[in-house]
């Protein structure tokens, strides 16, 4: 393929901060992105991930810190001088231009010759599999097609970096899965770096090489999907990665394991460093907490939802803690069950949160 991201070694965000009045939307984000990497910025709404993306694109100026593309400082450049491709949440296709004109826009702004523009637009249309739709106006396309035009428009200028701001959030569930695979395929094909903003942990896990988890304007953890899924570094990251059971416990070391107590329940878990004895939070995925005849936890069932292979149920312990767990049959409300979890899958974090 002739469309390839412009060559560079790394993009460095150095202590990048942005304030809105007295609100610190971004507090000292530092990150290095290598060429060819797919990075997901993951976090709840208002965590600063879109602010970070807009700062990268040049749509927002930094309050402090700097951005470097190899040896060039770029944070003072205007968006039109950076040459990054950006895919907007609402696609931002030019409604008065045909699909071809939309895709050609960036190239004609660079003043490329006509025949080169035609050729590149053809290639970009082929990459996003829309060769037949070139003459249409954006309004005549479906949401998924519009999304692909937006991607084609961003990659056709061969940017070193493609920025995507929740590009799938306006699509329905089925299309979202399709487009997810499509986005990763296109990323691998053109070989530039992609920074992808999402609040959907599943999307981040399945797409990214590395995930940057953000909360309240700060980077909480950077790691591969496996690292984040298996061993979140903080209780709040764990909560965001699907560790829905978060119990306030008292913890004490016992050999390689940690014994945790809450009310009259005692459970074995593993500590996430740094760890101190005493007040702690235990995080357990609902998938890891299973109904078991001899389980150490007793709970009274409240709800039980069918999820195909299993039932996703919730209940309360005698002292009122809410638990989410899986069962292989539908439980009736009020039914008493015993639950157990593999100590390796009970993560214990020091400190009093939540």
């Amino acid at each position: 393929m002739a469309i390839a991201g412009r060559d560079f070694r790394e993009l460095r965000l150095d202590d990048m901060s942005r304030n809105f009045g007295t609100v610190n939307a971004l507090k000292g984000v530092t990150l290095t992105v290598r060429r060819g990497e797919f990075i997901a910025l993951l976090g709840p709404s208002g965590c600063g991930k879109s602010t970070a993306l807009n700062c990268l694109a040049g749509l927002l100026t930094l309050s402090s810190g700097s951005i470097w593309l190899d040896q060039t400082r770029i944070d003072r450049l205007k968006p039109e001088e950076r040459g990054f491709g950006m895919v907007f949440q609402n696609y931002a296709l030019f409604p008065h231009m045909s699909v071809r004109k939309n895709i050609a826009f960036g190239l004609s702004m660079q003043g490329r010759p006509k025949d080169e523009i035609e050729r590149k637009v053809d290639e970009a249309l082929a990459i996003v599999r829309l060769s037949e739709q070139g003459h249409k106006l954006p309004g005549q396309l479906s949401g998924g097609q519009q999304q692909r035009v937006a991607i084609a428009r961003a990659i056709v200028i061969e940017p070193p970096l493609v920025l995507m701001d929740e590009p799938l959030s306006n699509l329905d569930a089925k299309l979202r899965l399709e487009m997810r695979a499509e986005i990763r395929r296109i990323h691998d094909l053109i070989g530039s770096a992609t920074i992808y903003v999402t609040h959907d942990q599943e999307e981040a896990l399945s797409l990214a090489d590395r995930i940057v988890v953000m909360r309240a304007g700060e980077v909480r953890q950077v790691g591969t999907p496996e690292e984040l899924y298996g061993r979140p570094a903080h209780a709040d990251v764990a909560e965001f990665m699907g560790y829905r059971n978060q119990l306030r416990v008292t913890a004490a070391r016992a050999g390689n394991q940690v014994m945790i107590r809450t009310g009259n329940v005692t459970l074995a878990g593993s500590a996430v460093e740094p760890f101190t004895e005493g007040e702690a939070v235990a995080a357990i995925r609902p998938e890891d907490l299973e109904v078991s005849a001899n389980g150490p936890v007793e709970a009274r069932t409240e709800t039980s939802q069918y999820h195909g292979d299993y039932f996703y149920s919730s209940g309360r312990t005698a002292d009122g803690a809410e638990l989410y767990f899986r069962s292989d049959r539908r439980l009736t409300k009020g039914e008493i069950v015993r639950l157990a979890a593999d100590p390796a899958r009970v993560l214990v974090y020091a400190g009093g949160r939540p």
């Binding site: 694109a57 040049g58 749509l59 205007k78 968006p79 039109e80 950076r82 040459g83 990054f84 491709g85 950006m86 907007f88 609402n90 696609y91 931002a92 296709l93 030019f94 409604p95 008065h96 826009f105 960036g106 702004m109 660079q110 106006l137 954006p138 309004g139 949401g143 519009q146 937006a150 428009r153 961003a154 200028i157 920025l163 306006n170």
Partner: protein, 299 residues
């Protein structure tokens, strides 16, 4: 009645339901006052005037029209009106674009908007009064000019005076309309254009202007119609017997100085025709522009 007819009658939904299916219900009745208003205060007088214009005091059916187009004192008013209305419209609409572009990004937009809207609430006569005093031979403006040695400039009781008044009273309208059309353009479109390498100038000409064209056309129509029917400021600030003898003055004189209602109606019809012609021309030009949502996607 046969059984078949009975079932058929039962199957047919009641009138209410059938009307509802065509979106006609009780709320539709709210249109009636407005329709009556238009009928009584616009369509009837218009039709009455139209018929009246073909019943001249003397002469045949078209005598009024023949008289108008053979007397330079009358037909020159068309030219005088166009000479005011076209530049005033263009200035008002074209200047409103950069101002609105800037105001759109302002944090204290409401303060400035309010300031700009004040002339609307003042009315033409108050504006004329103010201009006469301020720009007149003994006004501050000319006294200041004399003081710095430039000397007197004649700004009222001529074309300039009327033009200034048309701009002062017309600009707030065009500005507000342009501003609302402009805020309807999704800002992410310009951001997208910027990330694709378009500088401010290119963003304006490739993205903003094409999406604004539709609104500017409507804006021009409204502004033109308003300035074409200029009367008070042409009399108060202009030279109503000379260069600002606009067509509405001709109609007024026919009606209230010569008491020739038929002739006045004919002048009004000619005036209406001129307005209609320009509006049609602008709207025809509009069909070359993009018409549709100024948003970038399903959002």
């Amino acid at each position: 009645m046969t059984d078949a007819a009975l079932t058929k009658a039962a199957e047919r939904p009641p009138l209410r339901v059938r009307l509802k299916l065509r979106d006609i219900d009780g709320v539709t009745l709210l249109v009636v006052p407005a329709a009556l208003f238009v009928l009584l205060l616009f369509i009837y007088p218009f039709a009455y005037g139209f018929v009246l214009s073909f019943k001249p005091k003397t002469g045949d059916l078209f005598a009024n029209y023949r008289k108008f187009f053979s007397d330079p004192f009358l037909y020159d008013t068309i030219l005088a009106t166009f000479r005011l209305a076209i530049p005033a419209t263009l200035i008002n609409v074209l200047v409103s674009v950069p101002v609105a572009l800037r105001v759109r990004r302002m944090r204290h937009r409401r303060v400035l908007t309010t300031l700009l809207v004040v002339p609307i609430t003042l009315g033409t006569v108050l504006i004329a009064q103010g201009l006469l005093i301020y720009l007149g031979p003994q006004g501050w403006f000319n006294r200041a000019l004399t003081l710095i040695g430039i000397g007197q400039v004649r700004l009222v009781h001529n074309y300039t005076g009327v033009m200034l008044s048309l701009i002062m009273s017309g600009f707030p309208f065009t500005f507000l309309l342009t501003l609302s059309y402009l805020t309807g353009i999704d800002p992410s479109l310009e951001q997208a254009a910027a990330t694709l390498g378009a500088r401010a100038r290119a963003r304006f000409f490739h993205i903003v202007l094409p999406l604004l064209a539709q609104g500017l056309a409507i804006n021009m129509c409204l502004s033109f119609v308003q300035t074409f029917s200029v009367f008070p400021s042409a009399v108060l600030l202009g030279a109503p017997a000379g260069e600002t003898r606009v067509i509405s003055i001709a109609a007024y004189q026919a009606a209230y100085e010569q008491y020739d209602y038929s002739m006045a109606s004919a002048v009004a019809m000619i005036m209406g025709f001129c307005q209609l012609a320009v509006v049609m021309l602008i709207l025809a030009g509009r069909s070359f522009a993009y018409r549709g949502a100024a948003a970038g996607g399903k959002g």
